[in-house]
């Protein structure tokens, strides 16, 4: 009976343990303190403001789109935007504002972000993955019937990536700086019918 009781208590505790949380967000200011500390040590290259504030969402969209336009001018980017060159391995990476997008505070920050997106795309390309992007204008025209698109769902730009699989496309997209600023990304596979 004692053994059964012990076993029962152990199982009860184990059940509780399994329901324990595994993550807890530290205070927001801690990240900034650490980044500043690393900047002082020269381990982080200053290039990004340590605080990003929310401005009007349209300005953030402009920042992302300017980067995309700049990306198109970089040499050696293979264009895969024409339907003739799209394949089953082409994935569209939609950049959306999401609910928590942090806008660049000023022109300097926008340029720094552009540089980050550029570096990211360049790194993707250096891995041997074809990538391109395109700018979308701010004006939106809705046609037909349907639910109103929420501001967080508006696509501000997109990349086209030739990845070996959906998993690879997702893996590459997970490192996109757009997520750093609280944006949302949607990855869709092209269906070349």
């Amino acid at each position: 009976m004692n053994e059964e009781n012990t076993q029962g208590k152990q199982e009860e505790i184990l059940e509780r343990i399994n329901s324990l949380e595994h993550e807890l967000q530290p205070a927001p200011g801690l990240e900034e303190r650490i980044v500043k500390g690393l900047q002082r040590e020269g381990l982080i290259r200053s290039g990004l403001p340590t605080q990003a504030r929310l401005l009007h969402p349209v300005l953030a969209a402009v920042a992302a789109l300017v980067f995309l336009a700049t990306g198109m001018l970089l040499q050696n980017f293979r264009q895969i935007s024409s339907s003739n060159s799209m394949s089953e391995n082409t994935y569209v990476v939609f950049l959306k504002k999401g609910h928590e997008y942090k806008e660049a505070r000023n022109e300097k920050e926008r340029r720094e972000r552009i540089e980050q997106y550029r570096n990211w795309a360049r790194d993707i390309k250096q891995k041997g993955v074809a990538i391109s992007g395109t700018k979308l204008r701010d004006e939106i025209h809705f046609l037909g019937r349907g639910p109103t698109v929420k501001e967080s769902e508006i696509v501000s730009g997109y990349f086209l990536i030739d990845a070996g699989s959906l998993q690879e496309a997702i893996r590459l997209s997970r490192t996109c700086p757009h997520l750093l600023y609280g944006g949302a990304i949607e990855v869709r596979r092209v269906d070349p019918v």
């Binding site: 807890l24 990240e31 650490i34 690393l38 040590e41 020269g42 982080i44």
Partner: protein
């Protein structure tokens, strides 16, 4: 979102190559929630001290990332650094005083309803460390042995001891509630 080693490798590479702030921030955000709760548990619930430990962990990690050989996952490596920071932290004089205060506080909770987290906080440091790694975070005794520099047998005995204490306290709490 599941963190994969490939993602970590990519971000670490960008950070090391160019000192990219964005890459560091992404790494920080991917792993800090896990590391922070780990530190909070190690420190018996003290969040302020856990933040200090976490800060020191990331600074040491950034300094030594170029020496990391990917023999384990990045998160496991970061846990190892955090544990070292915690051990140094708890060996300092001021920590001895706050440990006494926490244990006194824990004692005053004996007659109140005690949640499991509070019971874990009451465990002795060595027991708590191993218990968190094994029973909560799922590390094997071999991995714990490597992380903490102890024999796997020690890890097993500490886990056994921790479970025994928790069972005893839990049983005691249940009787008081009945």
């Amino acid at each position: 979102m599941m963190e994969t080693q490939e993602d970590d490798e990519f971000l670490v590479k960008c950070f090391l190559k160019k000192g990219e702030e964005s890459s560091f921030r992404l790494l920080y955000r991917r792993h800090s929630p896990y590391l922070y709760l780990f530190a909070v548990r190690l420190l018996g619930g003290n969040k302020a001290d856990a933040e200090d430990i976490l800060q020191e962990t990331w600074i040491r990690a950034a300094r030594n990332l170029s020496n990391f050989r990917w023999r384990s996952s990045l998160r496991t490596w970061l846990c190892g650094i955090l544990i070292n920071c915690w051990r140094e932290f708890t060996s300092r004089d001021r920590r001895a005083n706050s440990s006494a205060e926490e244990k006194e506080l824990a004692q005053t909770n004996v007659h109140q309803t005690i949640e499991l987290e509070t019971l874990i906080q009451r465990l002795p440091d060595a027991c708590r460390e191993v218990f968190i790694l094994h029973d909560i975070e799922g590390y094997t005794h071999e991995e714990i042995s490597s992380l903490l520099g102890i024999h796997p047998g020690t890890s097993k005995s500490q886990t056994f001891e921790a479970r025994k204490k928790l069972r005893f306290w839990w049983n005691g709490q249940q009787k008081r509630e009945d």
